[in-house]
Subunit: 310 residues, 4 copies
């Protein structure tokens, strides 16, 4: 599958340089000031392999708000905690709707279509809130452990902003609660959710943290069993059909990797059996995906022949 | 990826025997008499590899109505004929709706979500009807050529039944025409569509016919270029997100292969770089997918470690 | 209720003159050439009372395409023909959707919300097509009889245009047929429906023809029993909640009369116990209602204190 | 219009007696215990006329939870307070959806279809919360003044139950807030809304309180101007198209009066120029309307010829 990775560093350098030169028509997430103020021209990429290599270029060490990328980690924690009971409360089908649609949630009686739309991530947040005494701390501990970095922290200005602008997420959580599919108190669920969204990490940290999904659930560096091989498979499957908002189909069509994006501008892509790519740049397209971040992942997948669809 | 295929024949035999023994709660497609009359306990499977092997078990030589599996071939023909213009008229996103939903078609102004829901397949049928002088003959010729069998034919009793029960497809086609996204006359489009759905083929024929999708567009037996490598990738990508009706996410989650089902009871699954599986058994679940057919593909994928998500 | 009708002629003259002077931002129905070519500045009004008076102003004798106003007459014919069986196949609730929405039809399993949205009118057309040997002739005969004018005719150029641009109506009819709520052949239903829409009548003729709805079902001029008092009540009720497309609520709110509009620019309003107003002017607002026609009815209702909500 | 009211008392007695004898298949509102515990066989009716008469039968003096009937009074208060600005934030069209649908609210960008669906009533509650220092007290004072009874009070057990079961209303309020169409804090809006729903009043009190809507805005007993004649007209119009949940069209069709129901079992109907009917009985049909209450209003309207559609 992999064509040539003899000079990955040069390839990444060229990709970053090319993308730094483009005039993007996108815009930074502006629903909260803390995200709107990020310099829009930053560009970074890291590639971590299950053999232990990490190759990076650009602003790969700058922490950014991981936002919806946190949904991947939350899902793994919830799967580990309550097992298949989770799938009674959230589905695993693509949504075919913009990522925060409340319409589908009503149609389907409070059962979110999948864990990567906002409603599904709130459901997962409810599981964590209900099953950990201090779920936000547990989440942060999980992230620090995966990245091997105790300095990873929550960006409090992002968190405070999210709380103030969280009315739509509150609406979805209360709607699910009206269907009895949220168990904790809604303000607690929102607080957990916004906490995990507000964690700041770099490309390098994210790429390394997700290696277990490319390696049947085992962190190749620590040999820790992060989740079962079956659950790693499942997460990759849902990422493939639903990880890139309402552009998931197009991303599969043109790139062909399980991936997740966040409105902070990050994009992570899993290459099963090989490693993880994390690219970052703040300007977003209309779907909420990083324009340059998507371009970088697409370019590298093409260059190296990484697609799972061949 | 592949664990062990040394005794594929024995594996298939066991899978078929096991499935023949289950009491299925499913039901045969009964919207038309010609499908309702198929003996429900037939079970067949064929595995064709890009190396030229074909291994089969059960009723693998019995022709069945390919129904929606024809959408894969129609899509390839349309991509070959009009290139990327096709993607102006049909999207490539999963639908998140039951397979024949007309609601989404109205929301999205007559642009179907993808070529594998009925609306999208009708759009593809319109492309073929408009760009071939006798599109149904062209389609049949394409199928015969891929299968290497001039005896493949249209089941006329199925075709006549489909015409009589085609009101919902007519509704979708007229709705798309009202949005100016259907160019030919609707009765002609429907006639083409029902023709391609009414073709009868066996597991062995279907598995062989689709090998080009597992082999970057090239038929490994004839070395014919059936489509570009890029288009083979694209078809596999859309199959992965949208090939199994509203169970596509679950199929990815538990099996992990690009696949397409039809209400005739057939299921085809592409294993990029390896080959094609075709399983068949008439009883359907509530999503319209063959219960035993899905079980067979799932069992074989598990046994051989075929999933693209690892 | 009625404040002062001593000088109705002068009131109508003033209303028409005032409205002729306004610069309307509306536009003529342009989906078919035959409607787009009507001179946009024509303005007419007629008031027929159950006492036998008809007072008119402006272009009240110019025939125009009655379009959806025909739905009122079709409903009365169908109620007379099949009685309460009709209400098993069409509901009497307001739709809360734009007038030709196909979404609601799918939600509600092929049962239209009411007889005045297009789907409901097609259902009524199916009843007429199924229960009269030549329903279009029966319809025309009914109209001529009510208006007392054998010269009323079908505008063939409108009819032909409607047929060519009727794809959306065809979609709705086939969708209802897929739910088994259309009994005749869809092309026959469409043909009937477009025939009744294509009838040309003047303000004077329409106002006179509908007097039975203001008079408990009895034509005050001929003393003919056109429908039961109960059915006249029912038609007025549905007109009040659903007669003015998605502006029905606003029309009730600001005018307060059972009314029906058509994209030909006509507006009829029933004043129970008093008479009927018909106003006409071709320019339409975004809801498909005549701007000047609505203004004229509103002005007269205000002037004379006609509202049923006081 | 009115056929015969010489023996209204006898008519009411007979209607109540007849309805007490029916075996109703309905059920008491059971989403909160405080409503579920009301004796289901109570039946009352009062008719107040603008001439000052009040005629009653059955349990007409038993206070019940007015629930959604409070929406009528809230609307009048909000119209008085902010005038036509209100109609920028809530529409006056029938909804065509079950009364608490959140789907339509999303489609229409946080603008409720009308003030009588829950979303619209929450919007009105926001207006009151934002424009009165203690809106719940202001509301109670308004009710006491209209009924001329200082003993009218809030049923605290109902209020507490509503708060606990208010997740769906919370979802709608947060959704509107996400569209910036709610100005106060959501918990404050909900608190006001549940307060007004929890007021307990009798048939006699409600019938008397609403006389101003039958009398062009003037309370006939006190001669107080409660609202403008125009606003009384408007409220009656919206009641006619939207007052009886998703049965509004059927109620117009078969009864023909502006009316509002509540899940406490009350039904009020306005007879412009004549008076107000209030009927009550706790068992509800599937639309949330009192079965016997609706029967009583329908029977009386038929008996006296009260319909506004004649």
């Amino acid at each position: 599958m992999l064509k040539n990775i003899s000079n990955l560093q040069a390839t990444l350098n060229k990709l970053v340089t090319d993308q730094q030169g483009i005039n993007s028509e996108g815009k930074v997430a502006d629903y909260i000031p803390a995200l709107a103020d990020v310099p829009p021209n930053l560009v970074g990429i890291s590639v971590a392999t299950i053999d232990g290599d990490v190759t990076s270029a650009g602003d790969f060490q700058v922490p950014f708000s991981i936002q919806s990328i946190s949904k991947v980690f939350g899902l793994v924690m919830a799967m580990n905690r309550i097992g298949d009971d989770l799938w009674q409360r959230v589905n695993m089908e693509p949504s075919g709707q913009p990522f925060n649609s409340i319409i589908q949630l009503e149609w389907e009686k409070g059962i979110p279509r999948n864990p990567f739309i906002n409603a599904g991530a709130l459901l997962v947040a409810d599981v964590l809130t209900s099953h950990f005494s201090t779920s936000n701390l547990a989440f942060l501990t999980f992230m620090r452990s995966l990245a091997g970095d105790e300095d990873i922290h929550i960006d409090n200005s992002v968190y405070q902003s999210e709380l103030v602008h969280g009315n739509r997420n509150a609406a979805m959580a209360y709607l699910m609660k009206s269907f009895k599919n949220i168990q904790a108190e809604v303000p607690d669920v929102l607080s957990h959710y916004f906490t995990q969204c507000s964690i700041a990490m770099s490309c390098q940290q994210l790429a390394t943290s997700l290696l277990f999904l490319a390696n049947k659930g085992i962190d190749p560096n620590t040999k820790n069993n992060i989740c079962t091989a079956r659950d790693a498979h499942r997460v990759n499957a849902i990422l493939s059909t639903s990880g890139m908002y309402d552009q998931s189909g197009e991303f599969a069509f043109s790139v062909g990797l399980p991936a997740k994006s966040g409105v902070g501008g990050g994009v992570v892509a899993i290459v099963p059996g090989y490693g993880v790519i994390c690219a970052w740049s703040p300007l977003l397209n209309t779907f909420g995906n990083s324009i340059v971040g998507t371009n970088l992942v697409a370019g590298l997948a093409e260059e190296l022949g990484l697609s799972i669809y061949h």
